[in-house]
């Protein structure tokens, strides 16, 4: 009796376990969908132009300004709606940069594992050891504040992890029969790589890409918060930078000036992290 009871319980656990990644993945897709929707339709959704001084500064929330105004009289709600664009843009483009470098290095290092591969991976290890955040800040400080530089700095620093993941996949792919068959029939390396290797890393690369977006969104926010973001662009991080500089978190204004942008940064990063989690569990169920 107890045996069948515990079996039933185990079966129920199994079902719940296999459902969780799907539930979290759908939740992530919903969040990301809402984010894309806001970013694309920002000009129609935002009640004001976020760069217009439309009211007195430091206004508390009211019917005209749902989240009040900032230190120079910009409408905070509009600023936050437009902020989704920077977050999404930097996240997606920086992750694309990281994925391009990471996949190239990973595929080459995995396909030629001897001298070239081990040299490349040693380089990857060095990048992974360097203190990440200080390096990011030093690079951003030297390069200067622009959207492109933010994207480049983040993209150039987060490709090492994807490279490692892709490489281990390629290492196992290169000894599969169909790859050996192609090579023994005299297919050139380029053909084998593009035709047989790269397509089969696609799922893994997608997972890495989505995780990189999640990380890049947080990094963009952190850089902007430290005053290293593009001074012209309105991003959630820069909204918080000004809230910090003007001491908004020391006044009741924190409820409408500090809380919303931070929650949105978290939500945006979380949306991509949930999708990445559900993809990773699908590829390699560890739960």
């Amino acid at each position: 009796m107890t045996a069948s009871g515990s079996e039933r319980r185990a079966a129920r656990r199994m079902r719940r376990r296999s459902r969780l990644p799907t539930i979290l993945g759908v939740a992530g897709l919903v969040i990301v969908g809402a984010l894309v929707f806001t970013a694309v339709l920002a000009p129609w959704l935002a009640p004001y132009d976020p760069t217009d001084r439309i009211a007195r500064p430091f206004l508390p929330p009211s019917a005209e300004h749902l989240l009040g105004t900032n230190d120079v009289g910009h409408d905070l709600l509009s600023e936050i709606i437009y902020g989704s664009r920077v977050s999404l843009l930097v996240g997606l483009v920086a992750a694309t940069v990281a994925l391009l470098i990471g996949t190239s290095v990973g595929v080459v290092a995995g396909y030629y594992p001897k001298r070239l591969g081990s040299t490349l991976m040693r380089g990857v290890d060095v990048i992974l050891i360097l203190p990440f955040l200080p390096l990011l800040i030093v690079l951003a400080a030297y390069l200067g504040r622009s959207l492109l530089n933010t994207i480049l700095v983040i993209g150039l620093l987060i490709w090492a992890e994807p490279a490692r993941i892709i490489r281990s996949q390629v290492l196992s792919l290169r000894s599969r029969e169909y790859v050996l068959a192609a090579r023994s029939m005299g297919a050139p390396d380029r053909w084998t790589i593009l035709r047989h290797i790269v397509p089969r890393t696609a799922l893994l690369a997608t997972g890495s890409f989505v995780r990189a977006v999640s990380g890049a969104i947080l990094l963009e926010a952190a850089l902007s918060f430290l005053g290293l973001g593009d001074p012209i662009q309105k991003s959630w991080g820069s909204t918080l930078y000004w809230a910090q500089t003007r001491g908004a978190f020391l006044t009741p204004a924190w409820k409408w000036w500090v809380l919303p942008p931070g929650l949105l940064i978290m939500l945006a990063s979380l949306g991509f992290a949930l999708i990445a989690f559900s993809l990773e569990e699908r590829i390699n169920p560890r739960l």
Binding site: L133, L135, V138, S269
Partner: protein, 315 residues
């Protein structure tokens, strides 16, 4: 070992090359002068003094010499020796990173073990989802919200600094002053540091639970407690300790953000001040210190590992 030397060389070379390769005039980045305001003679004078007229390889050589003799030069802003500025900041950073690492290690290991032991249950899955969410928390925002709540709204804790300014507290009052200033930075660092430990512990333990020797132990009738402490815990803890040691190095770097939010006078805050004030030599020296911290942490992990896990000992 060889790898660590490579990292040091890369870090120092990056430091050397970055200001020299940047577009614009390297003089402003290296000597900190307002180039446009100088007469040609003054410029030549400064270029010669900083050594920018020497060939690049010689400058590079000298740069290494300076580092080996512990000479990081002077701050543009305060004109003080950078070494002094760094030394007085390190204890504060060590205090809050050390404490927060202990907190996130204990909480992360316990919750991760609990989660893995009860895997697939509601408790495990909600803990897992919770940790994924905490991982997405921007640390600076967490700090701001903590200040708004605990310092401003409820007036329980001081909102900035490491000690109350211009107060000469003695004895226990002084100790409490330091503790009360450290509570919020440590809490923020601990919260953002926990998910990483939790995830590592959980996956590491799930892997151990799937091993044959665990099944053997169960099959021979070992009790749950015996399995958990005698077999699982011992085999799980080694990789987790490695991760913790490596995190220590990174936690050091993560303080740039938290110390900025709390105006905490550590090394991270120094980096922020240097960046904001375009004080490039200070920024560079701090970067080297952070690199050294990561390397020491990695070295520690390498040395600890064989002690904890005899399987990796090479005879």
């Amino acid at each position: 070992m060889a790898q660590y030397s490579v990292v040091v060389v890369v870090a120092v070379t990056l430091n050397f090359l970055l200001p020299r390769l940047m577009p614009g005039n390297p003089l402003a980045l290296i000597a900190g002068v307002d180039v446009g305001m100088l007469t040609p003679d003054q410029r030549a004078d400064i270029v010669a003094r900083v050594g920018l007229d020497a060939p690049l390889w010689l400058q590079y050589f000298r740069y290494w010499g300076d580092i080996f003799t512990g000479d990081f030069g002077f701050s543009f802003r305060s004109s003080r020796p950078i070494v002094d500025m760094i030394w007085e900041r390190i204890p504060w950073t060590l205090l809050i990173t050390g404490l927060s690492l202990v907190v996130s290690a204990v909480v992360g290991v316990l919750l991760g073990a609990l989660s893995a032991w009860r895997r697939g249950t509601k408790g495990d899955l909600s803990m897992l989802s919770g940790m994924i969410s905490v991982e997405s928390l921007p640390s600076f925002w967490l700090g701001m919200v903590l200040i708004s709540l605990f310092a401003v709204q409820w007036g329980l804790l001081p909102s900035f600094g490491a000690v109350t300014p211009a107060s000469d507290l003695e004895g226990w009052a002084h100790v409490w002053d330091i503790i009360s200033h450290a509570i919020m930075p440590v809490a923020a660092l601990s919260i953002v540091g926990t998910p990483g430990v939790y995830m590592t512990m959980r996956y590491s333990m799930l892997e151990t639970l799937g091993e044959d020797y665990i099944r053997t132990a169960r099959a021979k009738g070992a009790g749950e407690r015996r399995v958990l402490f005698g077999h699982v815990a011992r085999n799980t803890i080694a990789p987790v300790i490695t991760v913790l040691a490596i995190r220590l190095g990174f936690a050091f770097g993560g303080t740039v953000i938290i110390e900025t939010v709390f105006s905490y006078p550590g090394l991270g805050r120094l980096v922020f001040e240097a960046v904001a004030g375009r004080d490039y030599p200070v920024m560079q020296a701090a970067f080297l210190v952070f690199t050294a911290a990561v390397l020491v942490a990695n070295l520690l992990a390498d040395l600890l590992y064989p002690l904890i896990d005899p399987r990796t000992r090479t005879s």
